[in-house]
């Protein structure tokens, strides 16, 4: 059981700096997800915590111990890899017990702890098989079992679900969540999938180009993105972002569409300021088709370009001031391309970002 602290951590490969002085405090037993597009430095950061990459600058502490120069085996962590990284020549039982065997634990204790982990993960039937005889999901479970058997201070997950098919991924995601509730431990989890981040994390760390963009609970990151990158990266489908200008207390789009500046942001913008308007598809819904128009918010008449039926909802592709935009209809009926729908925009959930810096005007 351990907290993890990163203090201005830098990673350089030769002259190229890929992680630029990251600060992050992960509390004891916290589930933290590092999320970002590929190449953002999230895996490198995780591997520095694990000790598989040297730290070029700054300090990493695990449970108050400075680990900068400690090899992985002395950091009291275990790791689950993207490709499972099982030992191909060992049976499932040997894979699970390997860490304990190396640590020279007594044989009866190894058997007990391995059986315990196998029981938690439903591996009991597979103990004598080799990794080659397992399916992807089973291998993933063995990799997790190998991590929990050692009862480390912290678990590190490096995109553990990205090699699984969609259905299995959702199932394993739930299992990881349950596992964390059962085995209370600090977890650092790396993924590029924002849905995994949202569903698993106590706190999300959004990274881009070796910088941390935002740290917060899933709801904070979703409801109050600090800039356009976080706004577009978190949430599926992504937030609609449309350039606009503030004029006379209104947000004016390129085609002269006007929306009132939301009350909570009124004091944050100045007349003539160039901004980017952010509306989540969930907050842009057609009315008048079985859905009662509450009269709140602003109305927009937009033509349908394409409609995707997803079952309980229909995703409407449209165009807002020349920009591609999406709305969501919670009214199951067929929609024809070209049809003009009346969208209600939930103004209290609209975001405004400064066009120059990309920062949310809420913060200025």
């Amino acid at each position: 059981m351990a907290s993890i602290n990163l203090n201005t951590v830098v990673k350089r490969y030769g002259k190229t700096e890929v992680v630029h002085g990251i600060n992050l405090d992960i509390a004891h037993n916290e589930f933290v997800v590092l999320v970002g597009p590929s190449g953002c430095g999230k895996s490198t950061t995780l591997r520095m915590i694990a000790g598989l990459e040297d730290i070029s600058g700054g300090e990493i502490r695990i449970g108050d111990v400075l680990v900068n120069d400690l090899p992985p085996r002395k950091r009291n962590i275990s790791m689950v890899f993207q490709n499972y990284a099982l030992y191909p020549h060992m049976s499932v039982r040997e894979n699970l017990g390997f860490g304990l065997k190396i640590a020279k634990r007594p044989p009866d204790e190894i058997v007990r702890r391995v059986d315990e982990a196998a029981d938690i993960l439903g591996l009991t039937e597979l103990m004598e098989r080799t990794p080659a005889e397992l399916s992807g999901g089973q291998r993933q479970r063995v990799a997790m079992g190998r991590a929990i058997v050692r009862q480390p201070g912290a678990f590190l997950f490096d995109e553990p679900l990205s090699n699984l098919d969609a259905k299995l991924r959702v199932q394993m995601r739930t299992e990881i969540k349950k596992l964390h509730q059962k085995v209370k431990t600090t977890v650092v989890y790396v993924t590029h999938d924002q849905v995994e981040a949202m569903t698993l994390a106590d706190r999300i760390v959004v990274m881009k180009d070796g910088h941390i963009e935002q740290v917060g609970t899933p709801m904070e990151v979703f409801n109050h993105p600090v800039n356009t990158f976080v706004a577009s990266f978190i949430g599926s489908p992504p937030m609609n972002l449309v350039p606009a200008r503030i004029a006379g207390g209104e947000v004016v789009l390129a085609d002269d569409t006007r929306l009132p500046v939301p009350g909570r942001l009124a004091g944050r913008v100045t007349d003539g300021q160039e901004v980017i308007l952010g509306i989540r598809p969930d907050d842009m819904t057609p009315v008048g088709h079985g859905i009662h128009d509450s009269g709140e918010g602003a109305m927009l008449s937009l033509p349908v370009e394409l409609a995707e039926l997803l079952g309980t909802e229909t995703l409407i592709y449209t165009r807002l001031a020349g920009q591609e935009a999406q709305g969501k209809m919670f009214d199951p009926r067929d929609v024809e391309p070209g049809e003009v729908l009346e969208f209600r925009v939930a103004l209290d959930k609209v975001h405004l970002f400064d066009a120059g810096t990309g920062r949310s005007v809420r913060l200025d």
Binding site: A50, R73, A85, L86, P88, H89
Partner: protein, 299 residues
């Protein structure tokens, strides 16, 4: 026409291969098996018609000279193969760590394999020669020994000298195959083992080495066939002598067959030697199949 029948077509199409195998392998094999049951002497061709059953084999098995050669061949095989494995593994691990000039070194490492065993034998014969040999010269110049050491004559030293030449020539077979194994080795299990608590030696012992064993067994299979039929290098360096101190199976077989022209007896020995090779190949191949089973399909 019955010959046009479709069921004959495969045999017709395969006939070149069948005939080749028949004349090149099957008939000579059957012929030598037969002669191993006759007192066939090259100088008295008629003796080929006298069938004596297993008498050659019976005589062989009660012959000390044969058993010494047999045992020496197995010893030669065991020592040479193990040394080559250990040295080859060391070379492969070192070359694997090099980032610059790796290709060049890989090529240079193969040089000894490119020489004829006869030439390697001659070269080492001169190195080990007790009068003019460079080794004795070096030892004396460095003040390590006073007199000359009879490398190729002395009882254990003769075998050691031959093994040295064999190891020099063929270690790269192991090195190149093990290096291929190291190149194919996935990085993830190594990192997993580091996180699992292994120090570098334990990573090597528990992860790298088991992964390399199939490659080692391939090399062992190839090399056991090579060494079991070793003739040229031994014949050039010592000719099996002096006084039979370095006699291995094939030098003995050649002596009995060609020098003493007792072809029947030599063929009987050759059959025993072939069975020995088959046994070694079978042994390493079983190990290889067992080691490969878990590698199949694993990521």
């Amino acid at each position: 026409m019955r010959w046009r029948a479709e069921k004959h077509t495969p045999f017709l199409l395969l006939s070149p291969a069948i005939l080749t195998i028949l004349f090149v392998v099957a008939i000579p094999l059957a012929f030598s098996l037969y002669t191993s049951m006759t007192p066939y002497k090259l100088t008295k061709p008629d003796t080929i018609n006298t069938f004596v059953g297993l008498r050659n084999y019976v005589r062989l098995f009660s012959d000390d000279k044969f058993w010494w050669a047999f045992g020496r061949t197995i010893l030669f095989l065991a020592v040479a193969l193990n040394l080559e494995f250990i040295l080859g593994l060391g070379i492969a691990l070192l070359i694997n760590r090099i980032t610059w000039g790796q290709r060049t070194l890989r090529t240079m490492m193969m040089f000894p394999m490119m020489f004829s065993p006869i030439l390697v034998g001659f070269q080492f014969k001169y190195i080990f020669n007790d009068n003019i040999g460079i080794l004795n010269n070096a030892l004396q110049a460095l003040g390590i020994t006073d007199g000359s050491i009879a490398w190729l004559v002395d009882k254990p030293l003769g075998m050691i000298s031959i093994i040295t030449a064999e190891v020099w020539m063929s270690t790269s077979v192991f090195a190149i195959l093990l290096l291929a194994g190291l190149f194919a080795m996935p990085r993830d299990p190594l990192e997993a083992a580091k996180v699992d608590g292994c120090n570098p030696w334990q990573v090597f012992r528990h992860i790298t080495l088991p992964f390399l064993m199939p490659f080692a067994f391939i090399a062992m299979t190839i090399r056991s066939l090579d060494v079991a039929r070793a003739y040229d290098i031994v014949d050039v360096m010592t000719g099996g002598g002096p006084a039979g101190r370095t006699e291995v199976l094939w030098t003995l077989i050649a002596r009995v067959g060609y020098d003493n022209s007792k072809m029947g007896e030599a063929n009987a020995m050759a059959y025993v030697s072939t069975l020995l090779s088959v046994a070694f190949t079978y042994y390493f191949f079983t190990k290889l199949v067992a080691a490969r089973r878990y590698m199949g399909g694993a990521e």
